[in-house]
């Protein structure tokens, strides 16, 4: 596939690694923000190829991981209502709520369906006027335009039987939270390439200025990540802290203004709870008052939710990079992808699941060599 295969070339990867070995003189800790980047790193074993001192810390950029338990419990309560046709992206179906998950609800007779796009959910609402279609709208700035368009489309079609259960998160405030976390070990960021494709990269300028932390907008293929790492390490080694754009083939300074405009119309910025992390001011999106009719949380009174997080789970520390999954007592024993206790064990982008499926049994820092 064009624009993918080229960026997986093992010879050029070797070049970048060689270069990195030449540049890195000291240990550095970098955070890749986006779960998609975590996925590539772990699936390709990129972190195991890095020079000994260069460590990747997996960031909070997995919407499956950070969607608040209360939202999940609400989703399940709504999905269990007769007449609901509940739709979601695939991986959300596995995330454990306080009591059950969406796949188990489907097995018990609820109509829960996977869609590829929020527009597919709108189409379902159109085709099933007798049902109420709810879409679990999670995601970062990349997904927000799609969800915004779904609302605009449903409004345009006059669909009264469509709504979103929104749990939208914003990346820059989360990066700030990571840096503010006690015990923060992150020295540079690989910023999420597709978030920047939508939002542009100027929004990281204040962060860079305030924390003096290098930010490299990075793509998702092995070469992108290696180059992003190289650029970040180079900044660190040179004592620079700038916003650089590794992913220039997809990311422009100003981002996608049409998409930003749609998001601004449909949503407004609000404080947002991050699962395991807590509430971060101004880090989320909620439906604007004008589109309140499409807010599933307002439409459906599900009574009082008894939210119950698993005590063993240290997902918050894992998400902010202060701990690794192998620090968790439940990791690999009580908590496995088959029986996840926390969200990071669910999505293959989740840090705990990524560790588990790569067969990691101890924290890499404890190991001398690649297994």
């Amino acid at each position: 596939m064009r624009y993918l295969d080229e960026y997986r070339d093992p010879r050029l990867a070797a070049v970048l690694l060689e270069r990195l070995r030449g540049v890195a003189t000291r240990p550095w800790r970098l955070m890749e923000v986006c779960g998609g980047q975590t996925h590539t790193i772990v699936r390709q074993g990129i972190d195991e190829l890095l020079p000994a001192g260069i460590r990747m810390i997996h960031g909070p950029g997995c919407p499956v991981c950070v969607t608040p338990l209360e939202t999940l419990d609400r989703a399940m309560a709504i999905a269990a209502r007769p007449g609901t046709l509940f739709t979601s992206f695939g991986d959300m179906l596995r995330v454990p709520g306080s009591h059950t998950d969406l796949l188990a609800l489907r097995a018990r007779g609820c109509d829960v369906r996977v869609v590829y796009s929020p527009m597919d959910a709108v189409e379902l609402a159109r085709r099933h006027p007798d049902r109420h279609v709810v879409f679990l709208a999670v995601g970062f700035e990349t997904t927000a335009p799609a969800n915004a368009m779904a609302v605009l489309r449903a409004a345009g079609l006059g669909l009264a039987n469509f709504s979103l259960l929104v749990s939208h998160v914003l990346v820059p405030p989360a990066m700030t939270a990571v840096l503010d976390a006690p015990g923060c070990r992150v020295q540079a960021f690989l910023a999420a390439g597709h978030v920047c494709a939508v939002m542009g990269w100027t929004q990281y300028l204040p962060l860079v200025a305030r924390y003096r932390v290098p930010v490299v907008v990075t793509g998702f293929e092995p070469l992108d990540l290696l180059e992003g790492i190289l650029m970040a390490v180079t900044q660190l080694e040179q004592g620079r802290a700038e916003v650089e754009n590794q992913y220039a083939r997809a990311v422009r300074r100003e981002g996608n203004t049409a998409a930003q405009e749609a998001v601004r119309r449909v949503f407004r910025v609000a404080d947002q709870a991050w699962r395991g992390v807590g509430t971060i001011a101004g880090s989320g999106l909620v439906l604007a008052e004008e589109y309140a009719a499409f807010d599933a949380a307002r439409r459906f009174d599900v009574g009082r939710l008894v939210v119950r997080e698993r005590a063993e789970c240290i997902a918050g520390a894992v998400l902010t990079g202060t701990k690794v999954p192998t620090d968790c007592g439940a990791y690999g024993t009580a908590c496995t992808p088959r029986t996840p206790l926390g969200a990071p064990m669910v999505s293959s982008e989740g840090t705990c699941a990524a560790y588990y499926s790569a067969g990691r049994s101890a924290a890499p820092e404890d190991e001398g060599a690649v297994p």
Partner: protein, 85 residues
């Protein structure tokens, strides 16, 4: 998050007012919403996320990155005095 895949726009159309198009991903074709890239033309590459084209692939930039990497490769090869694998 944000799984985005590059593909080539083959056709564009309006579906009930919505700007849509077919994007080819090397033998797989999918209908995609093009509302956020209203100026896209067939033949151009876009990155698709959850059914939306969110950005265009800049062919020159893509080439430039690879050229730099290849040049690096040659530089490394020159440094080491041998061809890389």
């Amino acid at each position: 998050m944000c799984l985005g895949i590059p593909g080539r726009v083959t056709t564009t159309d309006r579906d009930d007012g919505l700007l849509m198009g077919t994007v080819d991903f090397g033998g797989v074709r999918k209908r995609v919403c093009l509302e956020y890239l209203p100026d896209v033309r067939p033949g151009e590459y876009v990155i698709v996320h959850v059914g939306f084209a969110i950005t265009m692939v800049d062919a020159a930039e893509a080439e430039r990155t690879l050229r730099v990497l290849r040049a690096m490769g040659d530089a490394v090869a020159a440094e080491l005095g041998e061809r890389l694998p």
